[in-house]
């Protein structure tokens, strides 16, 4: 099998997830998009592992670890989203604007906003 097939599929999946992360309002949908991006990476790992026939099977092992970490991430992320929702009454990402220059951002979710935003940045970077 050509390596280009899984690689291109991974790229496209990743970009779809990217679009979701950037475009979705609901925080849980953002998490769904993050999952898509993670899976695109997993596909890449598996495909390259199979292609390279690595002795240690590093690609597959890492895929397993990524899956586990993704599960943990989704748990933590959902907990944070729930907290944000409880504090601010909304789970919309673009409503959480406490860091904006203008003072018209909602003040409700003061405490956990920053965590949330930082968290999302970390996720996106992952």
């Amino acid at each position: 099998m050509h390596l280009a097939y899984p690689a291109v599929l991974a790229v496209l999946l990743f970009c779809v997830g990217l679009y979701g992360v950037l475009a979705r309002r609901n925080a849980i949908l953002v998490l769904i998009s993050v999952e898509l991006m993670l899976n695109a990476v997993n596909l890449n790992l598996v495909a390259f592992d199979v292609w390279l026939r690595d002795e240690l099977h590093a690609g597959q092992a890492l895929t397993l670890f990524t899956i586990a970490i993704a599960a943990a991430e989704i748990g933590i992320g959902l907990a944070i989203v729930l907290l944000v929702y409880r504090n601010g009454g909304t789970a919309d990402v673009d409503k959480l604007r406490d860091l904006s220059e203008r003072a018209d951002a909602p003040k409700g979710a003061a405490g956990s906003d920053e965590q949330d935003e930082q968290d999302e940045k970390a996720e996106a970077a992952a």
Partner: protein
């Protein structure tokens, strides 16, 4: 490993390739729908389709253990978690017109640009690379167990600690604080802070109740 330029061309695909291509198209389509649909719960369900498609792709790449793990963890637990999350945040059932933010055109531009760049690079780099799927099996449960517990024991154990920490963290985060347990009840105090919010829970006894999932 074959870096062979003499590999088979794209115009005469093997059966595995055809299967991979078809399943890949389905997966991609499901993913696209998942990130564009206006119905939030449907997004989660389309995610199931996409993840399942990916599991099939793993199988086609002979990584069968990972495929089953994918089905177990993602389809079995993660999606369920997401659905619970949607319900707990009183996500509306049915079409919600504002599922996408005003950022979507910028997001689209970025996504298309990165897709174009990455596809170009990847295709340019791996145009002629051929994966030899025959030969020794690589992803069976037996092989996976061997390499996992022979070479990757320490990260595996570290990962268990990570999972424990995530478990504890999730519990701590989602727990009602004692001091404000009363205030954070059904009449959420944050409601007045954002009375205009479309998903605002201010009227928890009002119209949004009817759209609530009973699981709450």
């Amino acid at each position: 490993m074959t870096l062979a330029a003499a590999g088979p061309g794209f115009l005469s695909p093997t059966g595995v390739e055809i299967a991979f291509l078809l399943v890949g198209i389905a997966t991609l389509g499901a993913a696209l729908v998942a990130v564009t649909t206006k119905q939030l719960v449907h997004a989660a369900l389309w995610l199931v389709v996409a993840l399942g498609g990916l599991a099939v792709e793993y199988l086609l790449l002979t990584a069968e253990f990972i495929a089953w793990v994918q089905v177990l963890i993602y389809v079995g637990s993660v999606v369920v978690l997401l659905l619970f999350g949607l319900m707990l945040t009183k996500a509306p059932i049915g079409r919600s017109p504002d599922a996408d933010s005003g950022n979507r055109w910028a997001a689209l531009a970025v996504a298309v640009a990165s897709a174009a760049a990455l596809v170009w690079v990847v295709v340019d780099a791996f145009r002629t690379t051929w994966i030899d799927l025959d030969g020794v099996v690589q992803g069976s449960t037996k092989v996976s167990g061997q390499y996992l517990f022979r070479h990757w024991v320490l990260p595996f154990e570290a990962l268990s600690v990570l999972l424990l920490a995530a478990l504890v963290g999730a519990i701590v985060l989602s727990r009602h604080k004692d001091g404000r347990a009363g205030a954070a009840g059904p009449a959420d105090p944050a409601g007045p802070a954002d009375p205009a919010g479309p998903a605002g829970p201010a009227g928890s006894a009002g119209g949004s109740d009817s759209r609530q999932n009973g699981a709450r």
